[in-house]
Symmetry: C2
Subunit: 348 residues, 2 copies
């Protein structure tokens, strides 16, 4: 006999990409940054003494809030820090989505949204993207019991974006808040931060895992109006961010020169990679993220994933019901990308 | 108009003890360890390169599980790692307690249990301790809709414990799982780890914040039977523990010589402190934790808290409805405790 809630018993659980802890892999499966983080991050972490670690961390990560506020042009009180942006998504879902409620998300997108709805005992109410990865007004229709809408922008696995103007349109037609998940926005030409001031129902989440090369450190944040943040502070764990990550994240976001340089490199590699994969016959929607969504009109993709894996090159093979499959390949270093391209040239 | 769930709108939120980030304080209010952590911890953290931080952490913290398993004498698969034991409490509550359900806890105890129930849209169903801090069978009565029982052992704010035998009795009469919150168990003569193998409905949570002096690092864990852990792994955030804290926690739990030596010092100071406060007329139940619960038959306590605060000595003043107030004073270093005692001698 189970003591778990029925929705927990039936939960599939979010399956993250493979994270080999041993051996040498070319890892292009979970959109990590191929370059080490800003040296300022390691210096800040190294500056934390054992004595500091005996004490609880600052519950709201004031130092980070202040630094991020000055970078983003919003007040510090509009920022909620989280143990990775997954923590932010979790906190927002717990605060807004009730048992029996619904969470609106496009499809295919980040699979975690469905897991988070399931943990609440709520339903995910997905709306499919159009074949060109635009999103119709179906996203704002049939919204009964929809308590939160989430939109990854850039989206995963497609790497595509909806324009800021389109997001405003959608938000205005929704009966509930819209969380724009901008984990990849630093690689994009456009973002939605400034919409937060214009519409209290728009929230934007960010991650330091991708564009700051800090997936292992776990730090993300939400930008929303102060009254929203105040309430969410009651829902998060009291000490959800630790002293080491607060120090590292504060140094990371302070070093915008590093971020800008790093993003330029990734975007340049992304262009080259898009062209090379196009030459091999892959169909790739225009990516504004640090990965490419690759389908192929004739070649089956799962065997490609498996053969790359045998060569210790990890890409993400994804299969979406009623949509089809594809390879999501992270933009690695030039060397990693060249190794992957070389193998692919032998396969397709 | 609010978009939050009604239970979130009415949430009080857990109020943690004050964490001054600036200035010199004698901090005896949040049960931190007064001594720096094992040097092995800082060495392990220092060994993490920037390159490692670009990668996601091990989702299940295998290294820690293996090390903790060998220390505790349970299989690694019986251990769930969390971002502090608050994360563990959160995950267990989300997995077991539904909207409209009830969470059983004694009173007075850790206030977070009520907040966690509230976030679920559930009720806390408290049962008062007896005046001698024993717990009657009322704890296992009137259990309709009770989906989880939680028992801090040692309890906060009292520092007292229930015997392992009593906990077995209670667990067997409960219709739901019992989570024994052992954040302070390393300072106690007894713990419940071995009960997990005997009763699948008993879970034990632990923290590295107190007895390993790592409150700033955020690491805790749950010991439960494998089938329970498997399900909880689907509920936790995929990467809830970061690479730095996994390395630090693994080194910390491997250094049992450090822990044992540290606990001996704390326990010795606790004895001395208990005696000295007793001489000042305070009533103190026998503490098995790293803090003392101090009431006084004649002297009002809030002014004492306030005057200590003026002297930059922080203790925790707590006032429980239908129970009364008290000072919870952490066992600091001998020097910190002497400074606090000196001030108290001038006040009472």
């Amino acid at each position: 006999m189970s003591f778990f809630r029925p929705n927990i018993d039936s939960l599939q659980g979010y399956v993250a990409g493979q994270q080999p802890q041993q051996g040498k892999w070319i890892k292009l499966n979970t959109n990590e940054n191929p370059y080490p983080p800003s040296p300022a991050v390691m210096q800040a972490i190294g500056g934390i003494t054992g004595e500091r670690l005996t004490r609880y961390p600052d519950p709201v990560a004031t130092a980070f809030r202040q630094q991020a506020a000055s970078v983003l042009g919003v007040p510090p009180s509009w920022i909620l820090c989280g143990n990775g942006s997954d923590d932010i998504l979790t906190v927002v879902t717990r605060a807004l989505v009730a048992e029996g409620g619904r969470l609106r998300a496009p499809y295919p997108s980040y699979l975690l949204y469905e897991t988070l709805a399931g943990i609440q005992g709520a339903q995910i109410a997905t709306v499919p993207y159009e074949r060109d990865w635009s999103l119709s007004d179906a996203f704002v229709s049939d919204c009964e019991k929809v308590q939160l809408a989430v939109l990854a922008n850039p989206n995963s696995p497609s790497g595509t974006i909806l324009s800021r103007a389109r997001i405003v349109e959608l938000a205005e037609k929704l009966p509930c808040p819209l969380l724009v998940d901008e984990a990849y926005a630093d690689f994009s030409d456009e973002n939605c931060i400034r919409l937060v001031a214009e519409n209290e129902r728009i929230m934007v989440s960010r991650s330091l895992s991708k564009s700051y090369a800090l997936a292992g450190m776990r730090f993300g944040f939400l930008v929303a109006q102060e009254s929203i943040i105040e309430r969410l502070l009651c829902v998060k764990d009291s000490y959800n961010c630790d002293t080491l990550s607060i120090a590292g994240a504060t140094a990371a976001i302070a070093d915008q020169a590093w971020r800008s340089e790093n993003c330029k490199k990734i975007v340049a590699t992304r262009s080259r990679m898009t062209e090379a994969l196009g030459d091999l016959g892959f169909d790739i929607p225009p990516s504004q993220a640090n990965f490419l969504w690759c389908t192929h009109p004739t070649v089956p993709l799962r065997p490609i994933y498996e053969r790359l894996r045998e060569e210790r090159i990890l890409v993400r093979y994804m299969e979406y019901a009623d949509w089809g499959d594809g390879l999501r390949i992270s933009v690695g270093s030039d060397e990693q990308v060249d190794a992957c391209l070389m193998m692919l040239r032998m396969m397709v």
